[in-house]
Amino acid sequence: MGALGALAFITCACLLAPFYAHDVAHSDPFASNVAGSIVLDGHEVDIMQPNDNPLHLGLSPIGPTGHAAYLLGADSQGRDLAARLLYGGRNSLLISACAAVLCLVAATLAGIVAGFCGGVVDAVLSRIMDIMWAVPVYLFAISLSIVMVSQKIHLGPFVLGADSLLIPIFIIALVYVPYAARPIRGRVLALRQAEFVTAARSLGVPGWRIMVLDIMPNISTTLVTLGPLLMALALLAESALSFLSLGVQAPQASWGTIIQDGEGLIYTRPLVAVVPGLAIVAVVLALNIVADGLRDALDGREGAR
């Protein structure tokens, strides 16, 4: 319950960012603001400040101010970290949620068709899955993104720019299809032997109708619990890709790109890397707990039957 609450809070905070973030930060979270300054307690303070080493060499972004503006300080480009965190979370959550849904749809389709049809169809689909499974997820995703991010993609009348969010969504969804399809196929294999499926066949019900009306409702529990788990995996994958500059492209933000920004500031302004990291941890943890809770709740109901 607490996990669900935390998840809802983080999601709302991030998704609603465009409506309030500007009023809080009073600066553009996407524009470099290296030469800017803000007024704190009546004093004008530069955003980029000299380091406090003996020779005052180099500049570091301002740290947490304790005020609405630059609440958590600035990043290396002098942008408001808190505002970027919100906008970044928006992208991260959006991408991971869409990827999870897309992945689940594709995996359900593949799993049901493979499990129900069996024979050659199953063999071909399962071998394709095995091959995808054999390639390490991140390596696979990275190689796909390098190909896709480096050029525009023309899909008929649609042109996908290199900075389109659809690219990481597609890549992450595709990469995790085998992970979701395998348990779904397993459930379908068991269900195919169920007497009510034989009964449907003996009634002359066409195969697609059996899949949709008899099999689908009986794997809904599996799907519902897989959903949040997939989203957690997708969030981690998205952060990793963005950290490697292969997911969300600048000036857009995601928690992964913010961590990348913070990498260079890890000694002077560790918050820039730590806070988005904590956000990722919190969301992944919450999603896992939610998935656990969902499974218990749904299984419990079936057990009572």
Binding site: F196, L213, P217, N218
Partner: protein, 323 residues
């Protein structure tokens, strides 16, 4: 010849399962059988003798390894699932496990309407919602359940009620042949009687033909007009119910009938079979029953007896049939 055409005819049907290491399990081992219109054929035998597999093969729910299956004179052995679909409404099955046979996630009304939605009416047109609803109410009345049951889920019913629902679903597309695979063995005795009576009643009202798979001789005696006794995948004796059960010619049938408990004080102890049914993977040579037969002789271990007519309408597969 004025004999009516059989509803279902099996010609030397075999169902062999391949096992690892080149072995094979012959679940159904060369069965020929005719089911005449209006009759109730009781298929009896111990568990594992292949009677359920045979029942499933009859309706092409299981593939046949060799042999022929003719439904109303039409060879359905090799028809594809798609070509078989228009014939499905005419031949239906009632399953043993009344719970497993009903999708737990769908309402009874939905389950019963499924065959009506999938198949067109006899005039070739798609059934309307109104005709389907009317038919559902008719079916519920037929099997003695309230119409309110249509809105409920399967878990809301008892075993006997669920079996009634299964029967109603099998009857929904107005079949001519119903294969009932141990429809009452999972029910308790008082409910068994109700369901058996329902089967008998429905047959009279709808002019159905049944193949009634069972291992309980009392049930078979009550309902079947003809009995086929199976042992290790083959029919060892077949004939009119009274003939076969009161004057069994095959030692196995005799042992089966003797094993039915009799409520008589001082009745002689039944002749019981020793040992287990041999594995269908390594079937004994010669007569398949000779390892357990009290009357086995040397010939029985060598030569396999064919199913032959002892007298008209009573066939037995034994070299030395009982008098």
């Amino acid at each position: 010849m004025s004999h009516p055409a059989p509803v279902l005819e099996l010609r030397d049907v075999r169902r062999t399962y391949r096992l690892p290491r080149g072995q094979s399990l012959r679940a159904v081992d060369g069965i020929s059988l005719r089911v005449m219109p209006g009759e109730i054929l009781g298929l009896v035998g111990e568990s594992g003798c292949g009677k359920s597999t045979l029942g499933r093969c009859m309706l092409r729910l299981d593939d046949v390894s060799s042999g022929q299956i003719l439904f109303e004179g039409r060879d359905i052995t090799t028809l594809s699932e798609r070509k078989l679909r228009p014939l499905r409404p005419h031949m239906q099955m009632v399953f043993q496990n009344s719970t497993a046979a009903l999708n737990p996630r769908r309402r009874i009304g939905d389950l019963l309407a499924e065959p009506l939605r999938v198949h067109p009416a006899p005039d070739g047109r798609k059934r309307t919602v109104a005709t389907i609803t009317a038919r559902l109410h008719e079916l519920m009345a037929l099997v003695g359940l309230p119409a309110a049951a249509l809105a409920r889920y399967p878990h809301a019913f008892s075993g006997g009620q669920r079996q009634r629902i299964n029967i109603a679903r099998a009857l929904a597309p107005s079949p001519r042949l119903v294969v009932a695979d141990e429809p009452v063995s999972a029910l308790d005795v008082s409910v068994q009687a109700q369901i058996v009576n329902l089967f008998a009643d429905l047959r009279e009202r709808l002019g159905l033909t049944y193949v009634f798979v069972a291992h309980d001789l009392a049930v078979v005696r009550q309902i079947a007009t003809r009995v086929a006794v199976m042992y290790l995948g083959a029919i060892v004796e077949c004939g009119e119910t009274d003939d076969v059960l009161h004057a069994p010619a095959h030692p196995y049938t005799a042992a089966l009938t003797a094993a039915v408990p009799r409520p008589v004080v001082g009745a002689p102890p039944p002749m019981l079979l020793r040992g287990d049914v041999p594995s269908p993977v390594n079937r004994p040579a010669g007569c398949r029953f000779h390892t357990r037969c009290p009357h086995a002789q040397a010939r029985c271990g060598v030569e396999e007896p064919a199913l032959r007519a002892l007298r008209p309408g009573h066939e037995v597969a034994c070299h030395y049939p009982l008098p």
